[in-house]
Symmetry: C2
Subunit: 400 residues, 2 copies
């Protein structure tokens, strides 16, 4: 469809004009609110000189209808969490949230010969359990989105082999759960998948020997160190009208504050969390009071304090509604130093206790912010600082 | 909106009924074509007993409108490739396609102190170049989707730090490019992003020492071994009406044929390629003649032969239109053994020579199948076989 000038095309998928309609410029990418065809046509060239053949319109339901502000997407048909499952190790089971996980393993090995095989086994058990809860089979799931901390995300890869579900591997270190929720939300809302299995997992022993020292070495850990959570969380996300829905997601940028101590991940990751929370508020118009609780993944005690300080600089105070999964998962008596960490930390705390609190209405709106440290032992040895990322996902309880 | 019974809901986003309308059952996930409200309502309960409150409808443009068959998505507003860029090492520059890459580096180090830093530098240069070609700045890009072969995808992570674009890390080993195209297509078509930067990269030296032996060790390579391509490919995908469009994508399952030799990746990956090509044809109704060329990533000579044999068992013959990037990138005189491999192999061959052939109309329809081996040196040492994956993406030249 050609409007006025042949170079101007109404983009496929356009269905209506109105308050929410927008025109986008292919050259500069900016979106302008427009209120009618003629106004758009007459407004456009003055503001945005276009190359012949390259300018286009995106309006109403078509095009960028799901982008909000700079870094946020909003789901027009918010996907809901159909079921969830958690499997944790003995230390997590002995912690304050222990009774709220589905399965607590009695030992770290699960009878396997290696830590890596034990981690994978946990992940596979969480996947089997979430499907049993939803009364579904693996072949009823359209896609499996998963990632973990191990080199080449081997836990996810080998679990995908067992499950036989079409698989997309992702990597965001400890931010993986919110990356999966953000991406999964897009795939369901966009009509590409009806049901998605999202997981992330970690294991203290496999992570420690890969990232830091072999545990047999028994190196002394500084007070800023965190304890990698042994566990796996699985979430089944899909089309639905009631329950806990994923309503928007803010995709983070990589933030590097120059930290380089692999035994102080909390301080390295806090700036990324602060940045994405601030951006989420800018993009959506929300503020801390818009959420009953703002959950971070594994900043621990040290990182949480830094987060509060960084947000205070921007006149944001969320101390009365901030919950860090790394702080919540272990008691002080368990001596976790600065708290829990790892891909599984937010995965099991969200997919277990927090989701239950949403389901029963203790919380109605939650902002979930998982942070990840995107370094490797190789970059650390080569003198690089630790770049970090965080993604924020808004989840809400919806009545049917 | 409630139809007939309160348990039956018309899913949000529904806009019309007709030949393409479908109803989906939340319990079993199956989709039924329906032709009118009443017929759907009366048909449904008999075929699919539902739990009170859990059955739902998905019709017309809403819901699963973009899913095709078991593993395929089709893009209703196919995203187009706005620009692409390639940077390669000296060996790739000396190969038969050398003149068709944008930048050929004179040495492997790019003046950096480590192979990892050199790989990242290449990737960053490819990103800068693709944006220069599109006359855009980094802030004009909504999302950066990237992955590579290194532990914790450090090339992508550190490049994301430099670029400052909201970032989603992915991992599919050498299948990363088609994973990025498939996912990126969904994000653009779904209205979540207007422009996406997709990249993948690899470096012979960094990959070899991570996956196999330090290159200084100078181990003898068997004839089945492949040579990891040094290079980076960057693609800018976005909303548009003409050019090379991504029209559908088939997401692969993990296939493990029991191979365990890290010096014969081609044989390990060929079954995954065969499976996803077959599934793509099943889901879309296409056959080999639907495409001018069917491109695989890095099966090499050994894997390509196995692919032909496996497809022949299913009465499919694509030998007259099959091109393997691993076979194409080096000449026999360069002694690459079975051919090229690595994340960058299909990335630079597609984003360079193949895209040019599409743009000038030498090809009009291409099926792009990148394969990845999802193992790690740890799984190999622990006696595991090598699970593999492949994703197929259809790209087509479209006149404006």
């Amino acid at each position: 469809m050609v409007l006025g000038r042949p170079e101007w095309r109404l983009f496929a998928g356009t269905s209506r004009l109105g308050g929410s309609a927008r025109a986008c410029c292919r050259s500069c990418g900016s979106a302008l609110p427009i209120r009618g065809t003629h106004r758009a046509v007459s407004h456009w060239p003055a503001a945005h000189p276009f190359d012949s053949g390259s300018a286009y319109f995106v309006m109403g339901d078509g095009g960028l209808s799901r982008k909000l502000g700079k870094q946020t997407v909003r789901y027009l048909n918010p996907p809901v969490i159909l079921a969830s499952a958690t499997v944790v190790g003995p230390r997590e089971g002995a912690g304050p949230l222990g009774s709220q996980f589905d399965v607590v393993k009695e030992d770290h090995t699960l009878g396997e010969k290696t830590w890596e095989k034990a981690e994978r086994r946990m992940l596979e058990e969480a996947c089997a359990l979430v499907l049993r809860k939803a009364r579904l089979r693996f072949q009823d799931v359209d896609l499996f989105l998963a990632g973990d901390l191990l080199n080449q995300i081997i836990s996810a890869n080998y679990a995908a082999r067992t499950l036989g579900i079409p698989f997309l591997g992702i990597y965001g270190a400890c931010s993986t759960l919110t990356e999966a929720l953000a991406l999964g939300g897009m795939l369901v809302d966009g009509g590409f998948a009806g049901r998605l299995l999202l997981t992330s997992s970690s294991h203290y022993m496999s992570a420690e020997r890969q990232y830091r020292y072999p545990t047999e070495f028994a190196t002394q850990r500084p007070p800023t160190a965190q304890w990698t959570v042994t566990g796996a969380g699985a979430i089944l996300l899909g089309i639905g009208t009631s329950g806990v829905a994923v309503t928007s997601a803010t995709v983070g940028k990589v933030i590097d504050a120059g930290m380089s101590d692999p035994n102080d991940m909390g301080s390295a990751m806090a700036p990324a969390a602060a940045e994405v929370i601030y951006q989420h508020f800018c993009d959506t118009g929300a503020d801390p009071t818009s959420y009953d609780v703002i959950v971070t993944g594994d900043l621990g005690k040290v990182g949480s304090e830094l987060l509060h300080r960084l947000l205070a600089e921007r006149n944001l105070d969320l101390r009365d509604r901030h919950l860090d999964c790394g702080v919540a998962i272990y008691s002080d008596q368990q001596d976790p130093h600065a708290g829990g960490s790892g891909c599984a930390c937010i995965a099991v705390v969200f997919a277990g206790p927090l989701l239950r609190r949403l389901e029963v209405g203790r919380y109605n709106r939650m902002l979930l912010v998982a942070t990840g440290a995107l370094f490797s032992p190789v970059t650390w040895k080569q003198g690089e600082s630790i770049p970090c990322i965080a993604h924020a996902v808004a989840v809400e309880r919806r009545e049917g």
